[in-house]
Amino acid sequence: MKTSSLCKVLNTERIAEDIYKISVTRPVEWKEIKAGQFFHIKCSEEGKSYLRRPISICEVEANQLRFIVRKSGKGTEALCNRKVGDDLDIIGPLGNGFTPTGEKILLVGGGIGTAPLVELCKTIKAREVKVLLGFRTEPYLVETFKKYCSTVEVATEDGSFGVKGYVTALMEAAMENSPEMIYACGPEVMLKQIQQFGKEKGIPTQLAMEERMACGVGACLVCSCKVKAGDDWDYVRTCKEGPVFWGEEVIFDENN
């Protein structure tokens, strides 16, 4: 039987505009935590936000967990405002996580979608790991990635750091050393392009998807992701069958 966990906030640090690194204690019950999994966090105790918010694991340590959170609405704002010493009510780890495979791999992250790739980068046993990161303007986590892999390239939309443009523009060049796998997390437009790219180049992709959630554990069916099912399609649960999907299965809606 799973138990509820109160994790004490150990540290909260603003690492870029509206981006916070939050470290909490790791309960002993949470033995295995895989990159790409998420935790479902009660951001506010008082009702400022009502539903829990899904937040990916960014880094797993022996005694602590680290999340990177973007202040974007009521819940994440309450979360980023939590004080050191507060107890956070968290359930997890949830979802499937990435499937580490291959010797030469490419990680592509966009914005806050860079966060779950840190733990992947840190734990994956590939010979060559290349990381491409895209941001609108101010980059973050770049130094963290550099600790764990050989090559980190950055693109920013306004050119304020690294190459000017979208992160996907860096992908063609990254083909030089023929990666065997691409892992990606970021905005839907980016994932769609990577899916297409992988298909064209014949490289398998894994995409960490986002969808609005309620329960986070697979019971309520609000978080459906459209995937191929033979000749037909099906809705599966982003929180349970996902959030990581193989690029070839995901069906992106036209109008998004």
Binding site: Y50, E211, A214, V217, A219, L221, C223
Partner: protein, 304 residues
């Protein structure tokens, strides 16, 4: 610790305790079975079933509102046959009542699902005539007393299972509708299903839900649900399962006092997967503190 009798009698269906899980919020029990011992629940109302598999609505299907949420799942489910083959055997292992929530677009469909379930191990049927998230049928059935009578009566004629009719709050007068279901020979009423609501993203200037509107649930609906349970209890003589925003023992006790013989917990599971167990303990403690020996002693005992 005094022994307190937590069993309730729904006149034809007994529950080991009055705490149930509300349909659509608890899947087929598997997921929350990892958080609470399903044997400790009075009953589980499974995700709404239709005759054939249904894919449901496009996403986004959920929006947060102050102390509540909107959903437009649209009855995504594997169909009644798959439920019987793949989910019911799992659920039947537990010492809890299994209630099949059934949905149709026509009276005939309701009857066929009811029939199909009649020889299975489900303990009761819950007729969902009030789902706001399907275009055809659903809403119209639940909002009109005449139709409620008809569908209840027809299903009654097609099954011997204990029959619960789930009422929509989106009606003129819940008493009219409750009376209609009772006249159609429902064994029990459950209420409320979700209110209908909307939320708009002002940056994009479009609704947050892909379908535009959705069902409102959570603490926000509690005052309305409690009033409707009270009014219904004053009106009918069949038992009532109360639901709508119940999130803690206090809420549950309010519904029992208002006249519900059992209660169901929905949205609150999403916030706190242990909530049903906490409600059980809280009701027990209340009864003990107040000197009662049975939960039956407070049902409908509102002083007013």
């Amino acid at each position: 610790m005094k022994t307190i009798d937590m069993a309730v009698d729904l006149k034809g269906l007994t529950l080991e305790n009055p705490i149930m899980a509300a349909s659509g919020t608890f899947g087929f029990g598997r997921e929350y079975g990892e958080y609470v011992d399903l044997n400790t629940l009075g009953g589980i109302m499974v995700k709404g079933l239709t005759l054939e598999e249904r894919k449901g609505n496009p996403v986004p299907r959920v929006a947060e509102t102050p102390m509540g949420m909107l959903n437009s799942v649209g009855l995504q489910n594997p169909g009644v046959e798959a439920f019987i083959q793949e989910e019911l055997p799992y659920l039947s292992q537990f010492n809890t009542r299994v209630i099949a929530n059934i949905n149709g677009n026509t009276i005939e469909e309701y009857c066929r699902i009811a029939e199909r379930l009649s020889d299975t191990g489900v303990d009761a049927l819950e007729l969902n005539i009030s789902c706001p998230n399907v275009k055809e049928g659903g809403v119209a059935f639940g909002r009109d007393p005449e139709m409620v009578y008809k569908v209840t009566k027809s299903v009654r004629e097609h099954t011997n299972k204990y029959l619960i009719v789930k009422l929509s709050p989106n009606v003129r007068d819940i008493r009219e509708v409750a009376r209609a279901a009772e006249e159609g020979r429902a064994d029990c009423l459950s209420l409320i299903n979700t209110l209908i609501g909307m939320a708009i993203d002002i940056e994009q200037q479009k609704p947050i839900l892909a379908r535009g509107i959705g069902g409102l649930s959570g603490p926000v609906v509690k005052p309305v649900a409690l009033r409707m349970v009270y009014e219904t209890a004053q009106t009918v003589s069949i038992p009532i399962i109360g639901m709508g925003g119940i999130s803690n023992p206090n809420d549950a006790i309010e519904f029992l006092l208002a006249g519900a013989s059992a209660i169901a917990v929905g949205t609150a599971n999403f916030i706190n997967p242990f909530v049903t167990a906490e409600i059980y303990e809280g009701i027990r403690a209340y009864l003990e503190r107040k000197g009662y020996t049975s939960v039956k002693d407070i049902i409908g005992k509102l002083k007013f």
